[in-house]
């Protein structure tokens, strides 16, 4: 029978929630890495027991953790437990947390500056890994989206990391931090074209490579940021919060922007708004039903300063028409006095039938629905603030 494994990153550790295919009874393990900020955990699609995790702390910096047994045990990929801590020639191992921007003349780009909040220029500085995206085909290849915004790739299971520096070449001096920092938070691989990857940055926008990461271009035509940018339809600078794709329709992208829910039908070449009847078009996560490419989910949030649901009612909105027409999903979710937020990486779907959908809140709840959002129930209620939720469907 199928199983579901939900990987939850929180401000103070990681938790793993497991259930059988009925998704009624849940086992909770954790906290793993107690006390650390766990920005993101994600499993390899080709080797599901291989899970990568971003562990970070203001005190001790960035750590990359890897599990090869579905989250039971973990190690830093550069230094597997039980192995010597030095190479045969005496060099120390353990560089899995070394994210050095590539400024070399051969493969890199000059490490210039980017805009700060106040419009002045600041040098690029590594802060943390926001998002880890394992390859669709190779368990040892994984992408890391970092702050200050850049994309890194490891091809040795997370032991070493190399920047795909061509991205910073796309008007990097005009990028600026959103409220959470200047983070590369979204990495979407095109399953039909291994050379094509989409990424999104707050606040720079959406970018695409068609050559496996060597060169990039901004794909933000149609985005409007009237109150965030002096030139509202600038080529870069938009605060894109999240993009999502259904693997059966890789040219169709859905976007939750700072304000506005958007859609592209041409692989990001142009975007049009699909906010329709949403109570507010601000929000963070967006995701697509596992079996219905036109069914999309968002969690509207009242504003960019309040960061809580309108009217204290936690509602997921679902469109079955690819946008514009949205219905509120409320059954099982708190409909009064609820003032939590749902962050950009904190929603995910499983691939069972019916499709399950999950999200975590800043109040520490993880809600799940085993019927595509018709009804909801909390899986856990009292975790630390949830930063990320990913789901693995195991057969």
């Amino acid at each position: 029978m199928s199983k579901v494994r939900v990987l939850v990153g929180t401000r103070k550790g990681a938790f793993i929630l497991t259930s059988d295919g009925t998704r009624r009874q849940w086992d909770v393990s954790g906290p793993h890495f107690a006390g650390w900020e766990m920005y993101h955990l994600k499993g390899s699609p080709v080797e599901p027991n291989r899970i990568y995790a971003s562990q970070t702390s203001s005190w001790f910096g960035q750590i990359i953790q890897r599990s090869d047994d579905g989250g039971k045990t973990w190690h830093q990929p550069g230094t597997p437990p039980g192995e010597p801590t030095t190479t045969p020639d005496g060099m120390p191992k353990g560089e899995s947390n070394k994210f050095i921007y590539d400024a070399s003349p051969e493969t890199g780009k000059p490490l210039t500056t980017h805009q700060h909040y106040d419009g002045t220029q600041r040098p690029w500085e590594f802060k943390r890994v926001w998002h880890l995206e394992p390859s669709l085909t190779d368990p040892d290849t994984v992408y890391a989206g970092i702050e200050d915004a850049a994309l890194f790739r490891s091809t040795d299971g997370g032991q070493t990391w190399q920047e795909l520096a061509g991205l910073r070449d796309v008007k990097g001096s005009l990028w600026q931090p959103g409220a959470g920092g200047m983070c590369l938070h979204t990495i979407v691989q095109d399953p039909s074209n291994p050379q094509r990857i989409y990424i999104a940055i707050s606040a720079a926008g959406t970018f695409r490579t068609d050559d496996g990461g060597m060169t990039w271009r901004a794909i933000n035509r149609g985005l409007k940021s009237k109150y965030e940018l002096p030139d509202s339809d600038a080529e870069v600078g938009h605060c894109v919060h999240r993009i999502a794709m259904h693997p059966m329709r890789p040219n169709v992208l859905f976007m939750q922007k700072h304000w506005d829910v958007m859609r592209s039908d041409d692989a990001g070449e142009s975007w049009h708004e699909i906010s329709g009847n949403l109570p507010t078009d601000f929000g963070f996560p967006i995701d697509v039903h596992a079996h219905e490419p036109q069914t999309v989910y968002v969690v509207p949030i009242k504003s960019d300063s309040e960061h809580f649901p309108p009217d204290g009612k936690l509602r997921v909105y679902r469109s079955r028409t690819g946008g514009n027409e949205w219905e509120a999903l409320t059954n099982g979710l708190p409909q009064r006095d609820c003032y939590v937020n749902v962050l950009r990486d904190a929603m995910a779907v499983d691939s069972l039938d019916p499709c399950g959908i999950y999200f975590g809140t800043s109040g520490g709840q993880v809600y799940g629905s085993a019927n595509a959002g018709d009804t909801w129930a909390p899986i856990v209620r009292d975790l630390p603030a949830v930063l990320s939720v990913e789901v693995q469907t195991l057969t």
């Binding site: 005190w59 001790f60 750590i63 947390n97 050095i100």
Partner: protein, 98 residues
């Protein structure tokens, strides 16, 4: 032997309990001590000082002999009591409200 006390999170990463004992060759300085620590426990590289600049991370402090040594030069000799192992070298997470 030099005695080093790590904060709890770094003990977890290094998979050690209690104090760490290190052999430091030559002059016992902060840099030599941290080099020896990272060579023995490479999983700690980047957690105490920056990979590239080798500067102390801002929220990490160094104490010994009831003194704050955080701002001492990396190549300055550490107190004799640390060099002889009479007193431990404490690596501490700054009291920053976490």
């Amino acid at each position: 032997m030099i005695r080093v006390v790590l904060p709890a999170h770094l003990r977890t990463l290094a998979r050690v309990d209690g104090e760490v004992k290190l052999e430091v060759m030559g002059a016992v300085t902060q840099r030599a001590l941290l080099d020896a620590l990272e060579a023995r426990y490479p999983m700690l590289r980047g957690t105490i000082r920056d990979h590239m600049t080798q500067n102390r991370r801002p929220f990490v402090r160094f104490f010994a002999c009831e003194q704050d040594l955080s701002h001492e030069a990396p190549d300055a000799p550490l107190p004799d009591a640390v060099a002889t192992g009479a007193e431990p070298f404490l690596i501490v997470g700054a009291m920053a409200g976490g």
